[in-house]
């Protein structure tokens, strides 16, 4: 039992290393930006624990600094984070079977943890344990980095610009994996085309949601066609 637990945490840690690189760097950048905008580390701590979503937390700094209305803040949160509704679709059944941990798993679902969960082996002996471990570790990296960034951001001697690329690298690797396993490359190609089209039409800030809605529509039709064939 004890050894099993240790294996679970080891696996979770190994799987979370790309998230560690990304969250430490981006989280510290967040803490520093907050500090520069006049929000001390305890605000970074509070927001990172309760909201926990990378890109929107940065936008929230600007919104708070400019004294934006609560309605504006609510709408921005709605627009920027609605993509994460789609992530739940892949793990609906699995999270339901995780009992009390379900709510925590839902709360900690980010772009990055979704990607790592997708890359887990179906045959992994303690799959749910590893998912939970990745969730806890990832959130800790983010929260700790944000606080450190706020407290001693200016003291870091090296220039780490670019280290957050490790997350892009992980997305690329999972993409290659899925490409190799897939019997058809339609899924991946649909993703590339819809997102590029939406990026060109809607612009960089809000293209994620339209891309996902459009891609889901195409995939539903594609699934039906497959059945009919």
């Amino acid at each position: 039992m004890k050894q099993g637990k240790q294996h679970t945490w080891q696996t979770a840690f190994m799987k979370s290393i790309p998230i560690l690189c990304s969250y430490l760097f981006v989280g510290m950048a967040y803490g520093m930006t907050m500090e520069n905008a006049g929000f001390h580390w305890y605000y970074s701590l509070l927001i990172s624990i309760t909201v926990y979503t990378g890109a929107f937390q940065f936008v929230l700094i600007t919104l708070l600094s400019s004294g934006a209305s609560i309605l504006t803040i609510a709408l921005t949160a709605l627009l920027m984070n609605s993509r994460q509704s789609f992530y739940a679709l892949t793990f609906l059944d699995e999270f339901k079977r995780m009992g009390k941990k379900k709510l925590y798993m839902i709360h900690t679902m980010t772009d990055e943890t979704y990607a790592v969960n997708c890359s887990l082996d179906e045959k992994e002996s303690d799959r749910h344990g590893v998912m939970f471990g990745v969730a806890i570790l990832s959130k800790s990296y983010w929260v700790i980095a944000a606080v450190i960034g706020g407290m001693l951001g200016q003291l870091i001697p090296f220039d780490l610009t670019g280290i957050d690329f490790c997350m892009t690298a992980l997305f690329v690797i999972i993409f290659v994996d899925q490409w190799e396993q897939a019997s058809s490359h339609v899924l991946a190609i649909v993703g590339v085309i819809t997102s590029v089209v939406c990026l060109l039409i809607v612009g960089a800030q809000y293209f994620l949601l339209p891309s996902l809605i459009l891609a889901s529509g195409i995939l539903i039709i594609w699934n039906r066609r497959q059945e009919a064939a």
Binding site: P18, I70, L92, F165
Partner: protein, 107 residues
Amino acid sequence: MRTEYILVAVAVSAVITFGLRAFPFALFGGSRKMPETIVKLGKVLPATIMAVLIVYCVKDSLDNVIGTGIPKLIAVLTVAGSYKWKHNTFVSIAVGTLMYMVLLRIF
């Protein structure tokens, strides 16, 4: 700045973010059976979402093609190529990230 305003803003943001993440569970939760269409959609989404996220990660480079675009393109190709060759996640991430950091400083 009023602390009260910040706290309300944070609470609203937290509730909305959690709500969005939980929304499909509320919709298809409980003992109700999920529609077959949604089950199938959930299974095929990861491949598509990875593609969308990669586009998301490289989109900012469109504003600065030479400074960050070319380094990012080379690094992405390095990751894909080295992974197809050796299938070692850590080696590919490390090599790709180092390459990106070095190229950023050259270009």
